[in-house]
């Protein structure tokens, strides 16, 4: 009995929590750096911020949050499976994951348009402090969405061969945790960099 309780906490793989912790600290430092630099350059930060497309950022927020929701659906599908219908539940979860990946891809495409506009304006890491932080933060975050998509794809592949069972579905939980982290970081990043003035 006590063994199962121990195995259920923390959910997913221990390793993924170490990774998430390190990621949060790293992004946290960048967020702090942004906030402190902004305090001494408010004018310049506000002015540069006007160049960002808030609507596109908002659409991206919706895309990521919805995608996260689909991942939750996939996980609960697996968790609610009944022993004799493993294939059916895995199939259902794979559909949710496909949707999640599509929305993730939507985020990436939209972001590529945003970057090409910004770079088209001749902006780079050395333009000013605001754009340095903007590019570092959104650039790092972009790579995380990319990595998260690869992880989702791996989970998706496993559902296609009905790989998850009621007893053993650590993989999908770990992947979901990572995807939620990516989503969570964006939810802080978006208001901080695009909106607050």
């Amino acid at each position: 009995m006590s063994k199962t309780i121990k195995e259920n906490y923390p959910v997913g793989d221990f390793a993924i929590w170490i990774i998430i912790y390190v990621e949060l600290v790293t992004f946290g430092l960048l967020f702090l750096g942004y906030a402190f630099s902004r305090r001494s350059n408010i004018e310049m930060f506000n002015h540069s911020q006007l160049m960002l497309e808030t609507t596109s950022g908002f659409i991206n927020t919706l895309l990521l949050v919805t995608s996260s929701y689909f991942v939750v659906k996939a996980v609960t599908t697996i968790q609610n499976m009944t022993d004799n219908r493993r294939e059916e539940f895995n199939k259902k979860a794979s559909k949710w994951l496909l949707l999640a990946m599509l929305f993730g891809a939507g985020f990436l495409v939209n972001k590529i348009f945003e970057f090409s506009y910004i770079f088209g304006e001749g902006i780079n890491l050395s333009t000013n402090k605001f754009f340095m932080f903007y590019l570092l933060l959104t650039g790092f975050h972009f790579m995380h969405v990319l990595l998260g998509s690869v992880i989702l794809f791996n989970i998706f592949q496993k559902t296609r061969v009905y790989g998850y069972t009621l007893e053993d579905h650590k993989g999908i939980i770990s992947g979901a945790a990572y995807w939620h982290m990516v989503d969570f970081l964006w939810i802080i990043l978006f208001p901080l960099v695009y909106i607050i003035r």
Binding site: D13, I18, V22, V25, T26, L29, L30, G33, S126, M132
Partner: protein
């Protein structure tokens, strides 16, 4: 020993240890020159001693890595080495090239050496750690290529494990990043970039993979823990190393003419670099706690745990001290840097060589259960002598670095370099003392090889 071709590791190990003795000896000579400036004048100047000291270090680590690879790859792939003969030929070529280069440093003035070795055709000499003449550099490339070929062919025809994959990736990185040593831009800032592309991406990215692979191999052997448990740790360590280490190169681009964003990229990425070293401690101690067998060679496990701890201290802790840009502004290039350089190179890389030698050498010498208890006791003594010696040396250098910083960089009442150095003289004596302890520890270690096997052993 399961495969006869593992035998080729032996000469590599022995030669690595001989070079280590040389390296530490030259360190000691420098330690004395720091106290009495005209020691050995005019025979060997400081810059030559320094070059021999650091180059011996790099070359001995390469020999050690090669020996470790030749030992573990047959066992991991479950097949004989592709060509033991090539490994032995490579060994002798590398020995001859290495010895000639060191003799060149010692007996030919460096400026003359550059002229003799075609440096005017392709200038590559004069950069720290990469001082080797062009023919030596080309020789290193050839040696490493033949070694990579040998290892790759063995891996291709045999069982594939996570350990061999990680090891091979690390070795490939070692080879690729060495190529930057052939490019010396005229622009001083670009020059620094490319220099660090070799030096930093070696010790803080690719070599860490090699370190992780060797550590995992020895831990599996002496603890009997299942491979699957180890694989996950290894992946995690490697992933963190690569991500933090590659961008972490930025911690060398502070205030040197590079764009300002490096302050942020370098500080934040390299602040994560201690994590994989911390994970190695967790890794080693978890494996040791969950061990399934009690190997008679207890020293191998002791060295493995020691590597994790000392590597974390030297690279993780001492590295973190000066890795944030605002701190580095004060500490850059002081004795604090040397303190970190010593403990990190020793703790991570010299000690992993000791670990694998301690595990493999008794087996290569026909003692599958490790050395006798008496020999292991001597080895344990040497373990503590060398570790406390290096730690003491590091602490002394750190103190020296702090004095230097407050003498010369903080406040307005500053003094000149030589004046400051004079005020540190006492600390330099302490450093030399601890250096002597390290050397004595190494001799004790050598002695442990010759302790007679007891007649009766359980």
């Amino acid at each position: 020993m399961k495969y006869t071709s593992q035998m080729v590791a032996k000469p590599y190990f022995i030669f690595a240890l001989i070079l280590l003795a040389g390296e530490i000896l030259f360190g000691l000579l420098m330690g004395i020159q720091y106290i009495w400036g005209d020691f050995l004048f005019p025979l060997i100047p400081f810059n030559v001693l320094r070059m021999v000291h650091t180059n011996l270090l790099i070359v001995l680590l390469l020999f050690g890595f090669m020996g470790a690879t030749y030992y573990l790859v047959p066992e991991e792939t479950e097949s004989e080495l592709w060509s033991p003969k090539l490994a032995i030929i490579t060994f002798w070529i590398f020995v001859v090239a290495g010895v000639l280069t060191i003799l060149g440093y010692l007996f030919v003035p460096y400026a003359t050496l550059t002229e003799l070795t075609f440096n005017n055709l392709l200038p590559t000499m004069g950069r720290e750690f990469l001082e080797q003449p062009l023919p030596t550099k080309v020789g290193i490339v050839l040696v490493v290529l033949s070694y990579l070929l040998n290892v790759s062919m063995t891996v291709l025809k045999g069982r594939k494990t996570v350990i061999t994959t990680v090891l091979l990736t690390g070795l490939l990185g070692l080879a690729v990043f060495f190529l930057f040593a052939f490019y010396v831009p005229d622009n001083l800032i670009m020059d620094k970039f490319f220099w660090w592309f070799t030096v930093h991406l070696w010790v803080e990215a690719t070599w860490e993979l090699i370190l992780g692979a060797i550590l995992a191999f020895v831990l599996i052997k002496v603890t009997g823990v299942d491979r699957e448990h180890i694989d996950k740790w290894l992946y995690l360590i490697i992933a963190m190393t690569m991500v933090s280490g590659i961008l972490g190169t930025g911690h060398h681009f502070f205030y040197m003419g590079a764009p300002e964003y490096w302050l942020w990229i370098g500080s934040i990425s390299s602040a994560v670099e201690p994590m994989p070293f911390l994970l190695m401690i967790l890794f080693a101690f978890t494996m040791s706690r969950d061990r399934k067998i009690k190997h008679d060679n207890e020293m191998a496990l002791t060295w493995a745990k020691g590597t994790a701890v000392m590597g974390f201290l030297g690279a993780g802790v001492w590295g973190f001290f000066h890795t944030l840009a605002p701190v580095n502004m004060y500490t850059h290039g002081t004795q604090l840097t040397a303190a970190h350089g010593h403990l990190s190179f020793y703790g991570a890389y010299i000690m992993i060589i000791f670990t694998v030698i301690s595990y493999a050498m008794p087996i290569l010498r026909g003692r599958p259960h490790g050395n006798s208890a008496k020999a292991q006791k001597v080895e344990l003594a040497s373990f503590w002598m060398m570790n406390s010696g290096m730690l003491g040396l590091t602490l002394a250098l750190s103190a020296a670095g702090l004095v230097q910083i407050f003498d010369q960089r903080v406040g307005t009442n500053l003094i000149g370099f030589m004046e400051s150095q004079e005020s540190i003289n006492g600390i330099y004596m302490v450093r030399a003392g601890f250096g002597l302890l390290v050397f004595a520890g190494l001799l004790t270690y050598f002695y442990s090889f010759f302790v007679k096997e007891e007649a009766q052993q359980a």
